[in-house]
Symmetry: C2
Subunit: 208 residues, 2 copies
Amino acid sequence: MSTKNKILDAAESLFADKGFNGTSLREITSLAEVNLAAVNYHFGSKKELIKSVMSRYMNELSPNLQTSLLLICEQEQQPNLHEVFSAFIEPLLSLNVFRENGTSNFLQLLGRGYTDSQGFLRWFLTTQYPEVITNFVTAVQRAYPELSAEDIFWRLHFTMGTVIFTMSSSDALMDIAKNDFDQQVDIADVIRKVIPFVASGVGAPFNH
Amino acid sequence: MSTKNKILDAAESLFADKGFNGTSLREITSLAEVNLAAVNYHFGSKKELIKSVMSRYMNELSPNLQTSLLLICEQEQQPNLHEVFSAFIEPLLSLNVFRENGTSNFLQLLGRGYTDSQGFLRWFLTTQYPEVITNFVTAVQRAYPELSAEDIFWRLHFTMGTVIFTMSSSDALMDIAKNDFDQQVDIADVIRKVIPFVASGVGAPFNH
DNA sequence: CGTTATTTAAAACGCTTGTTTAAACTGTTT
DNA sequence: AAACAGTTTAAACAAGCGTTTTAAATAACG
């Protein structure tokens, strides 16, 4: 495997675990078993390395998610919200074949990006991959046309919060569930549990 | 104002803004206009300062939340989930009189604590203030008895995720809402928007 | 008033951070 | 075989970190 990919792999799992700020280049390069200077040689800076780690996932996920959402938008009958959110399941889980622990790693990284580093990653994602959000909004609008643009905006961010936060701490949560309820769960189970929650949340009646 | 409180105030707003890892003691002491060494003198270490900042809020919030939830648990008729979650509104908003921007600062700190510093703050809160969680679970159980303990566990964490994540990025979200929808919102508005979402999410039917 | 304890001040500590440098090495091309 | 670009290496850089130390200023009390 190339040095570049060794760095990306090591950075990915450390970033997911301890955040971007919480991970040093020395930790990354020693896990990747490459020289410290290799990061700056191949990526230029730590910030660019973070972008590369995220891009690798987004370039894999984005087209799958696009076709999955488009399928829902273009079908004859009106979809319900549960269908819309279920459209995420397969593209997200397919990240697991793309890379070991791909699904949870990616979602954890997403969560880090929203809280670490004061939102520069949010800017990066919304400017580099805006069509993902657009399609998602369209799908929700088709499923629940009474919802105003403002309410869609807020409820989609609530949804992102639910999913991202859950996945950020999914390791800890799965441990607790195992200890307290003898309940062996994996990331696919968590996704199946969270879909009814967010679908119902987005579909909640509103009292203006 | 005492040196100790000047430090606590400065630390609180910086921590909420940039996270625990992302804030240095030098930033804190220079915003507080006190000497650098004062932190270690008064609090012993940065970690203890973090605990102190959180405790100041928890000691204010915890009793209010207790009485509010107890009121719901002890009332004659069965409460619905919307009532249960609404029990948080007043105690949370009262943090705003306790301290400027108290509500959003506290919720942002809570979010930081779950993602920064690998969960030591989660340990701190669940061991120091377990009765808050217990009462909350009891209230939800009364409102939705069909929900199993496992499902309550998961859905309450989804709820925490929604709220904490939303509040962590509430400043950014309120800015976007203002720009895109000419919608002037404050933290109370956000809370009013999120309550139907989480109440509906927790109350979602499940498909076993 | 004088003594003791508490609080602040400035400087330095040792350590880690991201980044840069310059030399050594690798494999291909002329 | 020599020249070459592409990589890797070890060492050093300046800057920032949390913490400690020492001395000066302030407050409390007999």
